[in-house]
């Protein structure tokens, strides 16, 4: 995989990641359409995912939970808003309560996936993540975008690196 580009757009509250795979589009689509494959990449190694329901059609749902090192099982769902195999997938990604219902207190993230072959048997996948309109997430992104803080963070990194070098 050639990683990849990360773009953050504060105006539209989006983050876009691009990645290229040495495989045809159908193969890349399988990463999403095959629940067993999805389980192998969705959750981090410490929180493997179990997909319990998987209907990747417009209006369909995907339900999953993850299992943490202490047995905790955070659960989530996707609400599919658009699916055009093997090129497009859009869904709303949210959390579920202990009783399995969508947790409305937690932010819902909109994810748009586009998959396109770019020649030489390679496929480019672009994942656009649209942040919810909740104040916290908006602020989260706006903060990272602002040059002022980016500079501050750069300075912090420099200071910390300098301290580490001295230590």
């Amino acid at each position: 995989m050639t990683v990849m580009d990360v773009r953050k757009d504060p105006q539209n509250l989006t983050m876009t990641l691009d990645a290229e795979f040495d495989a045809p589009a159908d193969r890349v689509w399988e990463l999403w359409s095959d629940p067993r494959q999805l389980e192998r990449w969705w959750g981090p190694p410490t929180y493997p995912a179990t997909v319990t329901s998987h209907d990747l059609r417009e209006g369909g749902r995907v339900e999953y939970h993850m299992t943490g090192p202490k047995g905790d099982q955070p659960a989530g769902y996707w609400e599919i808003t658009d699916a055009e195999p093997p090129h497009r997938l859009s869904f709303r990604d949210g959390f579920r309560d202990a009783d399995g219902r969508p947790n409305t207190d937690m932010p819902v993230n909109e994810v748009n996936v586009t998959i396109a072959e770019v020649g030489d048997g390679r496929t480019r996948m672009s994942i656009e993540s649209v942040f919810p309109d909740t104040a916290a997430m908006e602020q989260l992104l706006a903060m990272g975008m602002q040059e002022g803080l980016t500079q501050a963070v750069g300075q912090i990194d420099a200071i910390l690196a300098g301290q580490a070098a001295r230590a």
Binding site: V3, M4, L17, F21, Q139, L141, I156, L160
Partner: protein, 113 residues
């Protein structure tokens, strides 16, 4: 230095304002007091003082006495916590993409399904 438990809402609320982000940046050196900081902005001393107070409550800056002066200094640890949270989302997806790539690469080593 520890800030525990970090109050993310308060932290991001504090950082959601351009003036306050600028104060955080300027206060890294910890050389200026509120009055000196106020000179950088087209607003009253009281307004800047208010911004500093919000940052202080969020654990992002603290006031320090140096001799007879009181300077505002950025709490680097607080800022690092905020930054980590900001980067988490990107890291999450980078991790996912890495695992996807491994799955696709594994095709070549295994017989086709």
């Amino acid at each position: 230095m520890q800030i525990a438990p970090p109050d993310f809402d308060r932290m991001f609320g504090a950082l959601a304002d351009a003036t306050r982000r600028d104060i955080v940046r300027r206060a890294i050196d910890g050389e200026e007091g509120v009055a000196e900081l106020a000179e950088h902005y087209p607003m009253s001393f009281a307004a800047v003082q208010k911004h500093v107070a919000i940052l202080e409550r969020a654990g992002l800056v603290s006031k320090e006495r140096i001799g007879r002066r009181k300077v505002v200094r950025t709490n680097l640890e607080g800022l690092r916590v905020a930054r980590r949270l900001l980067d988490q989302y990107e890291e999450l997806w980078r991790g996912r993409l890495g695992r996807m790539a491994e799955l696709v690469a594994a095709d070549r080593k295994e017989p086709p399904r």
